[in-house]
């Protein structure tokens, strides 16, 4: 049993408890919170080393509580999870460090740090879990914390923003739960690997595959909502403006990516296994095109991505405050991440698909770093000048050259200037879009490429506007009187250096992302890794009956429910601890 797999999760949960317990000792609480984030980052680094980077690296699983795979909750640390965790740990570390310096001490004492680690806990759990229902639970953990962050300051504007955030997300969670419940009823398992295995051979388990498309669409809608893709983008600007800016860096940089991660993991690793030959949409008689829910995902997600790029870009251009501009920008940028995912879903060959998923992951990493840096810089600017309105800022470049340089690095990375990380992100996305156009040279296939081009131009426009409005020109009174905290500036400069380093030494980053894409697409390896089979041999009788019934029609459902029940009975007493696997 490899305890390192669960280490990030345990570090986060202990940090929640410790920061909550130290509520009466604010200085110690802050120190504990930062220490927790550092230990978290260290545990993630160790996990990434063991899973991907070490010479003898390989993915690992963890059966929590010692329950065997299809029945207990399995944690899976493969390259994809490790990649996302590295992203979360990097942004989280800087977010908490800047928060300690930027936020009002009294505000920090009011549950900021426990909430922060709670959000990190939810994110970590979502990246690690191999169980569909458990994924829902971690989503909720993450969302609970983020609700409070959005309502953190408690003013009228913040409450309105929180309400706008809360209502769609609660509805979304209900829809997700419906989808998951339906999938359980259809497939008969919640373990993702087991689900992939069963969907690959539906006849043997008596599964009717057609409903999986609709149910997976339920889940997709919720993931798109969490990721803030059009048409679910409406909560984004008010929520990001209301939240404390270091928390907004986490929301934009990390929690949005959880939605993207979930789409990649579920559609490419799990649902892609389902064959849909001859299935028709109920009531219409129209055949579902393509061979799996993945083919259904492609066009839908593509439309969302293109619309997001347009809405986010156009929305960002006209904003008056930096934080609002960044919020709109992140709608557009998530579109850039979803675009290659959509193209990967409709990609003809495995190599193209892998390249496209890798492009999405690189872009996700780049966006998390760059947008994190920009939000944190904005936090510093607001801390120093008391405003983020472009009309009240000006001449920051003269006032604090290092802060401005850090902001510039983030901006240029967002625009995609070499040698920053953003250049490669954009380059790979364009490559995927261009290759898509090259394979099918029709007008429709040019849409992704055109959208990416328009999005890139819009990014240049709004970044230029921010730069000219905030950092050039004559100093306004607010800027003139500002005192910029050197520690914050140092932190921002260090994050800017990370972005530069990720661009200059891009090769290992790309290899990591390719390994992650490989892990996302290699269903067989994922199933073998989790290995839900021992549990099913335990229940040979139940499964056999299910198979027999299944071949005679779709009447096997109660039987499968019984199977799971029997499983929990059989496994009710996992022997004294460590026997598990």
């Amino acid at each position: 049993m490899n305890q390192i797999v669960i280490a990030p999760l345990l570090v986060a949960v202990v940090a929640v408890v410790a920061t909550l317990a130290l509520g009466r000792r604010p200085a110690l609480q802050r120190a504990t919170s930062v220490a927790g984030a550092i230990v978290y980052a260290a545990s993630v680094a160790l996990l990434a080393w063991r899973v991907v980077l070490a010479p003898d690296a390989g993915p690992a699983t963890y059966q929590s509580g010692g329950w065997p795979a299809p029945f207990g909750i399995t944690l899976v640390a493969d390259a994809l999870s490790a990649f996302m965790l590295v992203l979360a740990a990097t942004v989280g570390l800087w977010s908490v460090a800047v928060a300690v310096r930027v936020l009002d001490r009294e505000n920090q004492r009011v549950f900021y740090h426990p909430l922060f680690h709670c959000m990190l806990l939810g994110v970590t759990g979502a990246f690690l879990t191999g169980d569909l229902f458990n994924l829902f639970v971690w989503f909720e953990v993450m969302l609970m914390a983020s609700y409070v962050f959005v309502a953190f300051y408690g003013g009228a504007k913040h409450t309105a923003g929180a309400f706008r955030y809360l209502v769609p997300n609660v509805v979304g969670s209900a829809v997700m739960l419906l989808g998951i419940g339906g999938l359980y009823a259809t497939v008969g398992t919640l373990n993702m690997a087991d689900m992939a295995r069963r969907l690959a051979d539906p006849a043997a388990y008596g599964i009717d595959v057609a409903p999986v498309v609709g149910l997976s669409a339920f889940v997709l809608a919720t993931f798109a909502l969490k990721a803030g893709l059009v048409p679910f983008q409406f909560w984004v600007p008010s929520a990001y403006r209301a939240a404390p800016l270091p928390a907004a860096a986490m929301l934009a940089g990390v929690t949005k990516k959880v939605g993207i991660y979930a789409v990649i993991r579920l559609y490419f690793t799990v649902f892609a296994a389902a064959g849909l030959d001859g299935a028709t949409l109920p009531g219409t008689g129209v055949g579902i095109t393509g061979d799996s829910p993945l083919a259904f995902l492609g066009p839908v997600l593509l439309a969302m991505a293109v619309a997001s790029i347009a809405v986010g870009g156009v929305g960002a251009v006209g904003r008056e405050t930096v934080d609002e501009l960044l919020a709109y920008s992140s709608i557009g940028q998530v579109g850039f991440i979803a675009l290659p995912v959509a193209l990967a879903a409709s990609a003809p060959s495995g190599a193209v698909r892998r390249a496209a998923v890798a492009a999405a992951l690189v872009y996700a990493l780049h966006h998390a770093l760059a947008k994190g840096l920009l939000f944190l810089s904005t936090a510093t600017v607001r801390g120093a000048t008391g405003t983020t309105r472009l009309s009240e800022l000006g001449g920051l470049g003269q006032r604090s050259p290092v802060l401005s340089a850090a902001f510039l690095v983030g901006s240029l990375s967002l625009v995609g200037i070499p040698p920053l990380a953003g250049f490669f992100g954009k380059f790979l996305v364009f490559e995927v879009a261009a290759r898509h156009f090259a394979t099918v040279p029709t007008a429709a296939a040019a849409v992704p490429l055109a959208a990416a081009l328009v999005g890139a131009v819009l990014t240049i426009v709004y970044i230029t506007r921010t730069w000219i409005g905030g950092f050039w020109g004559t100093q306004t009174p607010q800027v003139g009187q500002a005192t910029v905290d050197p520690v914050q500036v140092g932190l921002l400069a260090a994050l800017a250096a990370v972005i530069l380093a990720a661009g200059v030494a891009f090769d290992p980053v790309y290899r990591f992302a390719t390994a992650a894409a490989e892990a996302a697409l290699d269903r067989g390896a994922y199933v073998d890794l989790v290995d839900p089979a021992p549990g099913t041999t335990l229940l040979a009788a139940g499964t056999g009956a299910g198979g027999a019934l299944g071949s005679s029609g779709g009447a096997a459902r109660p039987d499968r429910a019984g199977e799971r029940g029997a499983g929990t009975e059989n496994g009710n007493r996992p022997a004294d601890g460590g026997e598990g696997t």
Binding site: V17, G65, P574, D576, G577
Partner: protein, 149 residues
């Protein structure tokens, strides 16, 4: 209502404790037991008013001045919440410390106990107790803070 509360509250608390103790093998568990206990408290609050716990039970004055969030009883509830969290997480970590997977559980039958003859001691009870305290602490904090406004 006060008469009903006097009769019903002890029964509710008893049921909640029994649900807590049997939770690892039968229907029940820390969460539902905690909710029931909180319901018993809520019934008392509804029947006797928010200050009953201070004046009627603990025989002391109600603190005035500081915000509701910092009052003695609410602070106690918050400490209960924290204690529960520490217990639940600690019971999971204890398994890790012993080299078993996180949250792994075990049990032992204790023989020849008077009256009961044999009692099953399950390590899951520690986790359940933690959940119980978390639920009781959280719900009562919410009830008294929202009720106080």
């Amino acid at each position: 209502m006060q008469t009903t509360a006097r009769v019903v509250v002890p029964i509710i608390v008893l049921v909640s404790v029994s649900l807590l103790l049997q939770g690892h093998n039968h229907p029940g568990g820390g969460f539902i037991a905690g909710v029931l206990t909180a319901v018993a408290f809520a019934l008392l609050y509804a029947a006797y008013g928010l200050d009953y716990l201070d004046i009627g039970v603990l025989n002391r004055d109600v603190e005035s001045g500081s915000g509701i969030f910092e009052q003695r009883t609410v602070r106690a509830y918050r400490r209960t919440f924290l204690l529960g969290l520490v217990l639940a997480v600690g019971s999971g970590l204890a398994a890790v410390a012993l080299g078993a997977p996180f949250l792994a559980q075990t049990y032992r039958i204790v023989e020849s106990v008077p009256i009961y003859h044999e009692i099953e001691l399950a390590s899951a009870l520690a986790f359940d107790l933690g959940v119980y305290f978390v639920v009781v602490g959280a719900l009562l904090t919410v009830i008294s803070v929202v009720g106080g406004e």
